[in-house]
C-alpha cells in the first residue's frame, strides 16, 4: 500500500532521523510513504504571526497539490505542519471568508483550488489504527524492556480541538503504543506543555527555562528518556538541556518502534542525536 507523505522542512534537516525512522516503520507495516511532489513549507509560526493570507495560503497550497495528485489522505509527521495544514483544511471546510479568499487566490496562481477532499493525518494517528497497532506485538524483536519513558505530546498535536485525534488534556496514544513495544511508560503531568519551540532562536533564555522544567519533571517521574511525535519538541529538548546535570535522550516514537522491530538502520538514526542515546540503549541491550 502507498500513502501520500508530507515530511516538512524539519524532516529534511534538523529531524532527518525522524524521516528515516518513520519511513522504515511504515515499510515494516507494508506501507510505502510517497513524498508529495513540490510541497512547500507550511509557514510555521513566522507565517501565522505576521500575515493572515500567508497563514492560510502556504499550508493550503500543499492540499491543492495532494488533491491534484488524487490523494485521499496526506500523512504529516511534523506536529507544526500537521496543525497548520489540518487547520487550513478545517477553515476551508467551514468556508470562512479568509479561507475562501485564499482558495480563490490559489486558483489563479496554481490553476486549481482545494475542494476539501483530503484527510490530513499524523503518523501516530495512522499507526494507532487497528490494522497497524494490532500487528505491533507480533512484530516485536527487541521489546523495549526496562526503558523508562516520559511520553511528550507538546502543544500542536492535540490542540486546538479540530486537530486533535486524542484527548486534548490527557492524550494516551503514544503511551499505549510505547507500552505495546514493551517500554515502562511513566505518568507525568507535563505531557501537553509547550516546549517554546518558536522562541528557540530569538529568546533562548526562555526556552532554557522551559526545557529545565520539562526535563526535571520527566526525571522526577522516573523517566530515563522522553519520547515525542514532533520534530520541534525533539530539537528543542535535545539541544537545550544546558542547565540539566544529567541530560536525557529525546526519541521520536517511530525511532523507538523501529528499535523494537529490530530495524538494522536504528544505530544510524541514534548518531544524529545531540544527547547521545547509545549508552542508555546499550545498557538495556537495545542496540
Amino acid at each position: 500500500m502507498k500513502l501520500s507523505y508530507y515530511p516538512g522542512c524539519s524532516l529534511h534537516s534538523t529531524a532527518a532521523e525522524y524521516n528515516m525512522a518513520t519511513e522504515a516503520v511504515f515499510a515494516s507495516f507494508g506501507v510505502e510513504l510517497v513524498e508529495l511532489p513540490e510541497w512547500n513549507c507550511c509557514g510555521a509560526t513566522a507565517g501565522h504571526s505576521t500575515d493572515k493570507f500567508l497563514a492560510l495560503a502556504l499550508p493550503l497550497r500543499n492540499l491543492v497539490i495532494a488533491e491534484a495528485e488524487q490523494q485521499s489522505e496526506l500523512v504529516l509527521p511534523c506536529a507544526a505542519c500537521y496543525n497548520l495544514i489540518k487547520g487550513a483544511d478545517h477553515y476551508c471546510r467551514q468556508g470562512t471568508p479568509e479561507a475562501n479568499d485564499a482558495n480563490e487566490e490559489l486558483k489563479s496562481i496554481m490553476g486549481s483550488s482545494y475542494n476539501c477532499t483530503v484527510n490530513v493525518t499524523h503518523p501516530l494517528e495512522v499507526i494507532m489504527k487497528k490494522e497497524y497497532v494490532g500487528k505491533v506485538s507480533e512484530m516485536l524483536k527487541k521489546p523495549l524492556s526496562g526503558l523508562k519513558l516520559a511520553p511528550y505530546y507538546g502543544c500542536l498535536l492535540t490542540r486546538p480541538t479540530y486537530v486533535a485525534f486524542d484527548d486534548i488534556e490527557q492524550p494516551k496514544a503514544m503511551d499505549e503504543l510505547m507500552k505495546l513495544a514493551g517500554a515502562d511508560v511513566r505518568r507525568w503531568s507535563y505531557k501537553t506543555d509547550c516546549c517554546g519551540g518558536s522562541l528557540t532562536v530569538p529568546r533562548v533564555d526562555i526556552v532554557y527555562e522551559i526545557t529545565k522544567n520539562l526535563i526535571t519533571a520527566a526525571q522526577r517521574a522516573g523517566a530515563d528518556a522522553v519520547v515525542t511525535a514532533c520534530p520541534l519538541c525533539q530539537m528543542t529538548l535535545d539541544t537545550r538541556q544546558k542547565e540539566i546535570d544529567k541530560p536525557i535522550p529525546i526519541f521520536f516514537f517511530t525511532e523507538l518502534l523501529g528499535i523494537s522491530f529490530g530495524h538494522p538502520e536504528a544505530k544510524k538514526w541514534m548518531k544524529k542525536h545531540i544527547v547521545d542515546p547509545i549508552p542508555l540503549l546499550t545498557s538495556l541491550s537495545l542496540v
Binding site: H12, G43, H48, R159, P160, T192, G196, L199, R203
Partner: protein, 196 residues
C-alpha cells in the same frame, strides 16, 4: 456574540477592530484567568493573556502595542482549549503582532523576534543563484539572523554539532520544478493585500 463588558466597548473602536480582525469575542472575557494559568510562557510576560484582553476592552492601544506578551506568545493553544467563552487568545496575539507591524510600532525589545519571523519567510522566497524557493533553509536563516543581530559567536558549538550530523544542509532544497514561481506569487499577493 455575547457581550459581558458592554460598557467597556461602547466607545471603543480599537476593541472592535481587534475583534473583527481576530474573529475572537474579546468582550466575553470575564477574567477567570484559566488562560494565564495554563500559559507556558507567562513567567516571562509583562501582562498575562487575560490582562491583554482587559487592556483591549479598555481601548488602551499603546499599552497593548508596547507589551512583550503578544511577541512571546508561541501559539500553543492552551488558552484556546481552556477558555470557557471560546476565545483563542493566541489569535488575538497574532492580530496584535500584525497590527504592530502594519503601524511600524514594534518596540526595540521585541525586534529580534519579528526579525526572526521575517528572515524565516524571506528564506522561503529563495535566493539568487542558490535558489531554495518554497522550503525553509536553516543554515541560511541562522547566518542571516546572526549577521543582522551581531551575535556571530553565540551557539557556534551547537551549529557545528548540527552540521556534523547532517542536520543543517549547506545548500537550500530546490524542490520546485514544474510549479516554480508559485511561492513567489503567493508572497506577492500577500504583499498586495497588506498594502490595501
Amino acid at each position: 456574540m455575547p457581550t459581558v463588558n458592554k460598557l467597556a466597548t461602547e466607545n471603543n473602536a480599537f476593541c472592535q477592530e481587534i475583534m473583527d480582525k481576530s474573529h475572537q469575542p474579546i468582550t466575553s472575557c470575564y477574567h477567570c484567568m484559566k488562560c494565564a494559568g495554563g500559559c507556558p510562557i507567562n513567567f516571562a510576560m509583562e501582562h498575562n493573556n487575560y490582562e491583554i484582553l482587559r487592556i483591549i476592552q479598555l481601548g488602551e492601544k499603546d499599552k497593548v502595542f508596547k507589551s512583550n506578551t503578544p511577541w512571546l506568545c508561541v501559539g500553543c493553544k492552551t488558552c484556546a482549549v481552556r477558555c470557557p467563552n471560546g476565545i483563542d487568545t493566541s489569535k488575538v496575539m497574532d492580530t496584535i503582532k500584525m497590527e504592530t507591524i502594519a503601524e511600524n510600532k514594534i518596540p526595540a525589545s521585541h525586534y529580534n523576534i519579528k526579525l526572526f519571523y521575517e528572515l524565516f519567510l524571506d528564506c522561503m522566497k529563495g535566493f539568487p543563484i542558490i535558489g531554495g524557493e518554497g522550503r525553509s533553509y536553516e543554515l541560511g536563516l541562522m547566518g542571516l539572523y546572526k549577521l543582522c543581530t551581531g551575535t556571530y559567536l553565540a551557539e557556534m558549538e551547537l551549529g557545528k554539532e548540527m552540521t556534523k550530523r547532517g542536520k543543517m544542509p549547506f545548500l537550500p532544497h530546490n524542490a520546485l520544478k514544474r510549479r516554480k514561481g508559485e511561492i513567489k506569487k503567493i508572497f506577492q499577493v500577500a504583499k498586495e493585500k497588506r498594502a490595501r
